[in-house]
Symmetry: C2
Subunit: 281 residues, 2 copies
């Protein structure tokens, strides 16, 4: 790709910009952001070669357009981008897919759009959070590939393979269900854990002197931005509620067993939970 436009210069957009450049996969990166502050920072940090607020002009000059804005903005920005597209390839990097794909289903340039989700991130946001190698050895999901032109899908797959990502193909509904389990629920439980402890902290400051690695690990995601996560919960609401119900059920079951002092059953539940070892190395 000679010229790449990245719209939205946060953690994912910024990291993709520097990764493409570092791997020699882009010659010139144009950054577009509605925040002049983010645009300035992205230039200072050398994430991009030039910054502009003129989205249509940037799209027209590009071979690849990456839309990396929060999921609510995505619903309006992606159609705007496709309006300007001729033979360019367009990707989003969004965390939910069904609502977004419905929003562009009838677009005359739909074929140039490839829906992807790099399963990578951190709890930090904004251009300063961008890091190279964020995507290395992670999975890229390509959704509903049969709705995209074959040449566009091939280009996208080839590009992310060169970033050393594993490629998985899924339909949008399966993607949204799976990410509710392996990503969205982790964030909700982490937010709830932070709220639980902060509720207590009003009374007792000292508690945090004791917090060690285990607590930090489970509560890390609670630092994540509401600007990113509220639209995800909105767009994947049905799946998120399903998984959340199951999670609350599991917690209530453990609570019941501890309350009843049925420790052999608690032991068995923990042994069952330990099976996660087989899956997460």
């Amino acid at each position: 790709m000679k010229t790449v436009t990245v719209i939205g210069l946060g953690l994912i957009g910024g990291s993709l910009a520097i990764s493409l450049k570092a791997h020699g996969l882009a010659e010139h990166i144009i950054g577009v952001d509605h925040s002049p502050e983010n645009l300035g920072k992205a230039q200072e940090l050398s994430l991009i070669d030039e910054g502009t607020t003129d989205l249509p002009a940037a799209v027209r000059r590009s071979d690849l357009v990456v839309v990396a804005v929060p999921m609510d903005a995505m619903l309006t920005v992606l159609p705007q981008v496709l309006d300007e597209v001729d033979q360019q390839v367009v990707i989003d990097v969004g965390s939910t897919k069904s609502m977004l794909l419905a929003a562009v289903a009838g677009h005359p340039r739909r074929g140039r759009f490839v829906a992807v989700h790099p399963m990578a991130g951190t709890e930090y946001s904004g251009p300063e959070a961008a890091v190279p190698e964020l995507f290395t050895d992670k999975t890229l999901v390509i959704c509903d590939a049969e709705q995209s032109d074959a040449d566009a899908v091939n280009q996208v797959q080839h590009l992310f393979e060169q970033l050393r990502m594993r490629i998985e193909y899924l339909d949008a509904a399966a993607h949204d269900l799976h990410t509710a389990y392996v990503s969205h629920i982790s964030h909700i439980t982490s937010f709830a854990l932070a709220l639980t402890v902060l509720e207590k902290e009003k009374e007792e400051q000292q508690i945090f002197a004791l917090a060690s690695g285990g607590f930090a690990s489970t509560v890390r995601l609670a630092k994540s931005s509401p600007d990113m996560w509220v639209p995800i919960f909105r767009q994947n609401r049905v799946n998120v509620l399903d998984v959340l119900d199951e999670h609350i059920k599991q917690l209530q079951h453990l609570r019941h067993l501890i309350s009843q002092e049925d420790y052999p059953a608690v032991y068995q539940q923990i042994e069952q939970a330990n099976l996660i070892k087989k899956i997460l190395k």
Copy 2:
């Protein structure tokens, strides 16, 4: 300390053994473990200088005795150790304190015992899990210090300061409440999260191809051993149930807001959870 006996050569006992040796704080380490396999491994891994199953003899030859067995065994092993003690210093490294301190309250050698809890660990267990520097820059809680002889407390404080630990003094009841918040609840929520996802995994294997850093982080503690954790939940049951109730309440509140599509309120809750940033760097 010239000679140190470590009873229980798991993650904490083993790590303490190598740390004391590495920092020049022990000349000779005697390992005691009810498992001949663990004892053999600890010798192979050079965690200890000699291994024995003769607990009374080891205690009598020692300047310091560390009891690092699971909390249920602790209730019987600690009094046995104190039965053998003259002027030696004895510490436990257990995760709950009230029940243990009640168990030795009337012991004639109670003064030689200092109750400590190093706020450090990993999700792994056994001698192979032992690592040097596990305790560096972590907090050591000393509980009910006024029940211990002043010289014993001073020796223990000095020892752990040389391992670069921060020392906090707490009474046992406060310790058990605080650890329920910053340690025990994280484990329960992680176990429940693993169970939630494993329940689903029966149907869908592919889900795990998508799991990335965020999921791994929140579910990491679900690998923790039931041999360690069931006794902790039993001995700190009242606090654990209180905190678990608060956590379930917070999850149900988030569920309600998402279900009612009250996204401004969800946003506000996440902003509130983000305050954890002020506390966890």
